[in-house]
């Protein structure tokens, strides 16, 4: 079983550039109508932290909620 994570998006800092969505290996992030990113598929986060690393606006945090390593 892989790790599981919970993604937090700091909306005032998010500019909707979609870099996080493109680097997410599980494709769980998407652009919302108001130009902010949202977690479309929260169940599938594997806490890989790619979105945290790639966000140029430091707007994402990931909490590991299940660690099976």
């Amino acid at each position: 079983m892989p790790k599981k994570g919970k993604v937090y998006i700091n909306e005032p800092w998010c500019k909707g550039c979609e870099i996080c969505a493109n680097f997410c290996p599980k494709k769980i992030l998407g652009l919302r109508g108001d130009g902010k990113m949202e977690v479309k598929d929260p169940e599938n986060c594997i806490a890989c932290n790619q979105c945290v690393l790639r966000c140029p606006d430091y707007a994402i945090k990931v909490e590991v909620i299940e660690n099976n390593d």
């Binding site: 800092w13 909707g16 550039c17 979609e18 870099i19 493109n22 690393l53 140029p56 606006d57 430091y58």
Partner: protein
Amino acid sequence: MELEKYFRVEKLPHIWCPGCGHGSVMMSIAKGVDKLGWDPKKVVVVSGIGCSSRAAGYLNFNTLHTVHGRPIAFATGVKLANPELHVIVITGDGDGAAIGGNHLIHACRRNIGINVVLFNNQIYGMTSGQYSPMTPEGSMATTSPFGNIEPPFDLCELTKSAGANFVARGTVYHLPKLDSYMEKAFSKKGFSYLEAISQCPTYYGRRNKLKTPLEMLEWQKENSIDIKKAKDLDPEELKGKIITGIFTERDEEEYTVRYDKLIASVQGGKK
């Protein structure tokens, strides 16, 4: 790493456009300081003018936002007055390669202990997209509507020849590598030059068929060649490519150390 320790979080979100790579390079600087365990009170960030230079406003160190092309001149003064400080210069391709080019080569020649981080987005972003000395040949810009006919400056080769102790180039696409170059650059005594290829989706990408920030990052990935691999390729094959890696690592004596020795010798060994 705690964001609050190195950033003035009340000033965030930063002013840069959606998808701009500068935020990633600024984070890499903070990570470098964190890895070396420098006391933020002993770090001075000096920047010039341009998009990149806005970084000084967000970093929670001693910061100086100076005049166009002159951050290295100000930083030289800071370092000479207080050699124990860690002096980082944040500059861009316009600020550092065009108007500030001469300061850059002479700081290399002196090998003064300043860590220059040049955010290379290959365009004058703040003034809406004029070509810079580091814009790739053939690129569209507001001042080159039929394509840029000038070859770009290779500042890594220039700073290496001018005498810098450490020279490297990384990209925002290869972020973990950029972080490792940052750490090496910061830990070097003497002058270091680190060029970070960043992306400007607003004024470079849109005019050059790279419509999204992701396409710009993919462009960095596809066009980067490691310096070890580049050695076996001829100049024609390397045209338009981004050569990444460490260009030089030397341990020549730093300027303020030589200066202190001079003072000691002319005062007859007393200081």
